[in-house]
C-alpha cells in the first residue's frame, strides 16, 4: 500500500491505496464521487476525464498514486466555475445530452476548449472533441453548445 495525499475539489484527502488502483476508481469508490464514469479503461472514450492541476487528463489510465501532490477537479467540483456554468446551460438548451453517461467527461473537455481555444471554429471544436465519444447525440447539440459558449465569451 502507498500513501497518497492530494486535493480533490478543493478538499485535502489522504489515503493508503494499492498502487494499481486507478485515479478513476479512487474517485468513484473511495471518495464516492460517482460523476466520473468509466467507459473503456484504455484512454480512448473520454468518459473519465477530470482536471489535474487545471488540465484535463484521463483518470482511467492514471494510477491514483501518481496523482500524489496534485489538485484534482471532478465534475462535482465546478459549482463556482463560470465557464462550466455557461457550458452546462448551453448543453441543456442545445440538447447536448441524452443518456448522460458521457456528459461529465464531455463537459470537462468542452470547458477546456472554450477556455484554452477562444477562437476555435466548428472544425477545430470537432477535432478537439475527438477524444470524447458519445453514442447517443450524434454530437450536434454538443458542438452547437460549445460554439454558443465560445461566441458568448468572445462578446
Amino acid at each position: 500500500m502507498t500513501e497518497l495525499t492530494l486535493k480533490i475539489n478543493g478538499e485535502d484527502v489522504t489515503a493508503n491505496v494499492e498502487p494499481r488502483l486507478s485515479l478513476a476508481d479512487f474517485i468513484r469508490d473511495h471518495r464516492r464521487l460517482t460523476g466520473t464514469h468509466l467507459g473503456c479503461e484504455h484512454g480512448v472514450c473520454g468518459a473519465c476525464t477530470v482536471l489535474m492541476n487545471g488540465e484535463p487528463i484521463r483518470s482511467c489510465i492514471t494510477f491514483a498514486v501518481v496523482a500524489d501532490g496534485t489538485e484534482i477537479t471532478t465534475i462535482e467540483g465546478f459549482d463556482d466555475d463560470e465557464p462550466m456554468a455557461q457550458m452546462r446551460q448551453a448543453f441543456h438548451e442545445n440538447h447536448a445530452l441524452q443518456c448522460g453517461y458521457c456528459t461529465p467527461g464531455m463537459l470537462v473537455a468542452a470547458r477546456d476548449i472554450v477556455t484554452r481555444l477562444p477562437d476555435a471554429d466548428e472544425a477545430r471544436v470537432r477535432l478537439e472533441l475527438a477524444g470524447n465519444l458519445c453514442r447517443c447525440t450524434g454530437y450536434v447539440g454538443i458542438v452547437n453548445a460549445i460554439l454558443e459558449v465560445l461566441e458568448k465569451r468572445r462578446s
Partner: protein
C-alpha cells in the same frame, strides 16, 4: 479491466531511479506519463512487478536551446510541445506532430521521452524525430551517453536503451529559417495511431522517413537523393517503388498508403 498487482517506487533523483532499476526483482518499468503503459496494464498485456515513478526527478522537463541544438527533457509533455515551447522552425515542425498525437487529455500527460522509449511502431515521435535528426540522451550506471536516432529503434517496441538505463532527453537540430518540412499521417480518425506516416525534413540535408511500418520507421535514401537533387514533388508511383526496395513486408494497400504519406509529405514541405 484492472491492472495486475505491482510495486510502486517514488524516486526523487536520477540516481535513485537508476538504483531502483538496478536493484529490481523481476520486471521493472519506468513510468513516464503512463499514457501508453496505463492501457496496456489495464488490459494485462503488461504486468511489470515494479513501476518506478520519475515524476519528481528534476532536470527532465526542460526545453533549452544552445548552439544549434535543442535539448528537450524526457518528461516534456506533448501538450507543452503543441503549445509552442520548442522554439523556431524545429518548434513549428514539432507542434504539428504533437497536435496530432491522441487527444489533448492524453497529451497533457504523455511525454516525448516516454513515447521514444516505448517505441510503438505506429506512434508519431519515433518517425518524426528520425526525420528531424539528432538523437537521444541516456543515463546509466556509468553516466550519460548519446546515440543518434538512426538505428535507435530496432523493431516494434524495441530500442537501444539497456535494461538498466533511463532515457533522459532528446537533442534535436535547430533548423534554419529556410528549412522545409512536411509531415503526413494516414489514419482512420484524428488522434488515432497512424496506419502510415510520411515525414520529410530538409535542413542541413534531406531526410525522408517511412513510418508506422509495424516495425521501426526507416529512412528512404532514394527519396533523400531526389530531394537533394532539387525535386519538389514525389509521385505516389515513384514513392511505391522506392519504398518497396526496402522490402518492408507491406501488402498492396499498405504500400499504397505509405507511398501516399510520403508523396503528400513532400507536397507539404514545398507548399
Amino acid at each position: 479491466m484492472k491492472s495486475a498487482k505491482f510495486d510502486h517506487q517514488r524516486t526523487s533523483s536520477l540516481e535513485d531511479a537508476l538504483a531502483a532499476l538496478g536493484g529490481a526483482d523481476g520486471e521493472a518499468r519506468i513510468m513516464g506519463g503512463g499514457q501508453s503503459l496505463g492501457p496496456m496494464m489495464n488490459l494485462r498485456l503488461a504486468q511489470p512487478d515494479l513501476l518506478i515513478d520519475i515524476s519528481r526527478v528534476s532536470g527532465l522537463d526542460g526545453v533549452e536551446e544552445t548552439a544549434g541544438t535543442i535539448r528537450i527533457g524526457a518528461r516534456v509533455t506533448h501538450a507543452r510541445i503543441e503549445d509552442g515551447e520548442v522554439p523556431g522552425v524545429t518548434g513549428a515542425y514539432m507542434r504539428t506532430v504533437a497536435s496530432g498525437i491522441s487527444y489533448r487529455s492524453v497529451r497533457n500527460r504523455g511525454t516525448i521521452g516516454g513515447s521514444v522509449a516505448h517505441a510503438d511502431p505506429s506512434a508519431d515521435w519515433p518517425s518524426a524525430l528520425l526525420a528531424l535528426g539528432g538523437g537521444v540522451v541516456i543515463a546509466g550506471q556509468d553516466g550519460e551517453r548519446r546515440t543518434s536516432f538512426d538505428g535507435f529503434q530496432t523493431g516494434p517496441f524495441a530500442t537501444g536503451i539497456g535494461y538498466q538505463e533511463i532515457l533522459t532527453g532528446v537533442e534535436l537540430p535547430t533548423l534554419g529559417a529556410d528549412a522545409k518540412w512536411g509531415y503526413y499521417k494516414v489514419n482512420r480518425k484524428p488522434g488515432e495511431f497512424a496506419d502510415a506516416i510520411g515525414a520529410i525534413v530538409i535542413g542541413a540535408e534531406p531526410r525522408a522517413v517511412c513510418g508506422a511500418t509495424e516495425s521501426a520507421p526507416f529512412r528512404v535514401p532514394a527519396i533523400e537523393e531526389k530531394l537533394a537533387g532539387g525535386v519538389t514533388e514525389l509521385s505516389i508511383s515513384d514513392a511505391r517503388d522506392m519504398i518497396s526496395a526496402h522490402d518492408p513486408g507491406f501488402d498492396d494497400y499498405e504500400l499504397q498508403i505509405h507511398a501516399v504519406a510520403l508523396s503528400r509529405a513532400v507536397g507539404r514541405a514545398f507548399a
